[in-house]
């Protein structure tokens, strides 16, 4: 296979990552942030699945396995995130991350 194909696919996942990062940088709403993070993580998942296609290496964790694990992990993360959102919401009645700036300088 040629680098060209690699470039295409990596370009795709990179775009996915970019979207995620963009979301993380621009969104102030915690929920939206969580979504953005999900997107970013899934870029990695996509890569694993894709590269697993022609992994010539001596094995170890196979790409698919890694992908599945990461998906699970992402779920856990979001769960934790939601917990924090709830607490935050209860605390200050807002989930705008830009408002929580008592710790600074």
């Amino acid at each position: 296979m040629t680098d060209f194909v690699v470039a295409q696919f990596v370009g795709l996942s990179a775009a996915l990552l970019g979207i995620g990062l963009f979301g993380i940088l621009t969104r102030r709403n915690f929920i939206l942030l969580l979504i953005a993070i999900e997107i970013a993580i899934n870029a990695a998942v996509l890569n694993f699945v894709y590269f697993a296609g022609f992994a010539t290496g001596p094995g170890g964790v196979s790409g698919q396995a890694a992908a599945v694990v990461i998906v699970g992990l992402a779920a856990t993360e979001v769960a934790v995130g939601l917990a924090i959102v709830l607490a935050l919401n209860r605390q200050r009645g807002s989930i705008n991350v830009a408002e929580a700036t008592t710790l600074r300088q």
């Binding site: 890569n47 590269f51 290496g57 001596p58 170890g60 694990v69 993360e77 008592t102 710790l103 300088q105």
Partner: protein
């Protein structure tokens, strides 16, 4: 290597069991903090002893859980975990920081809400770090890191009442998740480049590489993702707020424990012969040959520069810091810079120096945070200025704190001095090799930084000793309490830290030679 035996993982098992026990007790309605604490202390102490035994400390050999043949035999190209003696050393580091924190936390108000959660999470986080120390596969490594990560997110905000803690947790979580995404992305690219995520494969390029710029990008992502844990500048911003906002004992754990986990992750990924030249030559059949590529110089340069930036900025930012906890946070950022020097150089001596520095940092930085926690429990702080006269009113506590600060500043007869001395000696020694003069300037930068850092540590000493205490500050704690309001657990933890600082500062030989041996193995076997 021998067939896998479940006993190898006894230390980890202790922790897991203890964590579950704690949660169980909680469910059973036990409310006494001391109970949970006892469990945690016991488990950490026990597994610490086991790890020490595994390191070949004969007096404790009856506790050892690993057959010597397993240690440093190096993981295969397919194995998920491998026991390196350096890894065991790091397990020791993690466990001792956990031990200090859980010991100190015994002195928190009994019946405090969420004590079970705190101890349970502490144990879980420690478990994650233990796994990092034995992992031999990138995915396994990142997962272990995540275990710790998730546990610590929650630890920071576990009280759910205090706004600062929650805010800190939020920030910690967001940046942490971001870095997770980045490191997994990097891992995926490496998987693409090498066709495997096994660290041995990665570090030695077994099985060839399809595209080295892919691998380069992957490594770049990993540097960022792991740099977050190690609080390299510019991935450090979260740390200050989190250390500041988190319950101080948790800050102690973060500074003393999880950061070190990040450093070891760096060891695993970036140390060892990061060059695939030779390999490339044999695998050049069939597929297109790509020009051989040596990652090492690039990584060295990048990590070196990051180290310099981190040290300098950490110190500069700490210079005028008014709050004690934030000052300590910045100082621990700059300390991360020193550790990175070792990684950038990557010779066995440098590695040993960095490891000693890490061990030292557990006692001095975690110790300092524990003192701060105790003092603020008396109602002092958060400003440095409020520590006025501490040294005069509480001579023993003052001496302990002063020792920790002096050790951080690298003043002789403290472990902080020895570790820096050895680390920089290693740098100079490495620089004598032709073409590596860059390392000499790393050493110079490090030493100048330690000189700069003296400024703000000395400022604290000045406040503690040279300014008269104001009566309003309740420094003396409740009357009749021999520990002056610190509580026995905390006093014990502080005493432990001080003893370690002085003992290792005066006679580091036994510990250091062990570390040196481990480091030598590590570099030789390449993880």
């Amino acid at each position: 290597m021998d067939p896998v035996s479940w006993t190898w993982f006894l230390p980890e098992a202790f922790l897991l069991g203890a964590a579950l026990l704690v949660f169980l007790l909680d469910v059973l309605g036990v409310e006494k903090l001391e109970a949970f604490g006892a469990v945690a202390v016991g488990a950490t102490a026990l597994s610490l002893l086991a790890v020490v035994a595994d390191l070949g400390f004969t007096p404790l050999s009856f506790l050892s859980t690993l057959p010597p043949s397993v240690v440093d035999s190096g993981g295969g190209a397919t194995s998920l975990y491998a026991f390196s003696s350096l890894g065991l050393v790091f397990q020791g580091v993690f466990l001792s920081s956990a031990l200090l924190v859980s010991l100190a936390s015994l002195s928190r108000p009994s019946h405090e809400k969420g004590a079970a959660v705190f101890y349970g999470l502490l144990l879980m986080a420690t478990l994650g770090m233990m796994l990092v120390a034995v992992s031999a596969d990138l995915i396994f490594l990142l997962l272990a890191i995540e275990v710790t990560g998730i546990a610590t997110y929650l630890m920071v905000g576990y009280t759910r009442k205090d706004a600062r803690g929650l805010e800190a947790a939020m920030k910690f979580y967001i940046i942490g998740a971001l870095s997770t995404a980045l490191s997994f992305f990097g891992a995926s690219l490496l998987f693409g480049a090498f066709g495997s995520t096994n660290l041995l494969v990665l570090s030695q390029g077994l099985g060839g590489i399809s595209n080295h710029s892919l691998a380069l990008v992957g490594y770049a992502f990993l540097i960022v993702g792991l740099g977050f844990k190690v609080t390299l500048v510019p991935f450090h911003a979260w740390a200050v707020d989190v250390y500041d906002g988190a319950p101080t004992d948790v800050s102690a754990f973060l500074a003393g424990g999880t950061k070190k986990m990040g450093v070891f992750a760096f060891f695993l990924v970036f140390i060892g012969p990061l060059s695939i030249l030779t390999v490339r030559a044999v695998n050049c059949t069939g597929t297109v040959c790509i020009a051989p590529y040596d990652f090492r110089p690039t990584v060295e340069l990048t990590l070196g520069l990051l180290a310099i930036v981190t040290m300098t900025l950490g110190n500069v930012l700490a210079l005028l810091q008014k709050e004690m906890k934030r000052m300590l946070a910045y100082s621990s950022i700059s300390q991360a810079g020193y550790m990175m020097i070792g990684i950038a150089i990557g010779t066995a001596p440098a590695l040993a120096g960095a490891t000693l520095q890490i061990l030292a940092h557990v006692f001095m930085k975690a110790g300092a945070f524990l003192v701060v926690a105790g003092v603020s429990a008396l109602g002092v702080g958060p400003l440095i200025a409020q520590y006025r006269g501490l040294g005069q009113r509480r001579p023993y506590l003052g001496v302990a704190f002063a020792l920790m600060l002096l050790s951080l500043a690298g003043i002789p007869l403290t472990v902080g001095f020895v570790s820096k001395f050895i680390l920089f000696s290693a740098a100079v020694q490495a620089s004598t090799v032709a073409g590596q003069s860059f390392f000499f300037w790393l050493a110079v930068a490090g030493l100048l930084n330690s000189a700069l850092s003296v400024f703000y540590y000395a400022r604290v000493l000045k406040v503690m000793y040279m300014e008269s205490p104001d009566a309003s500050v309740p420094l003396d704690g409740p009357a009749g309490d021999p520990t002056g309001g610190l509580g026995y657990g905390r006093s014990a933890a502080i005493l432990l830290a001080v003893v370690a600082i002085v003992a290792l500062g005066v006679y580091p030989q036994p510990v250091f030679s062990a570390i040196q041996a481990a480091a030598t193995h590590f570099v030789a076997s390449g993880a």
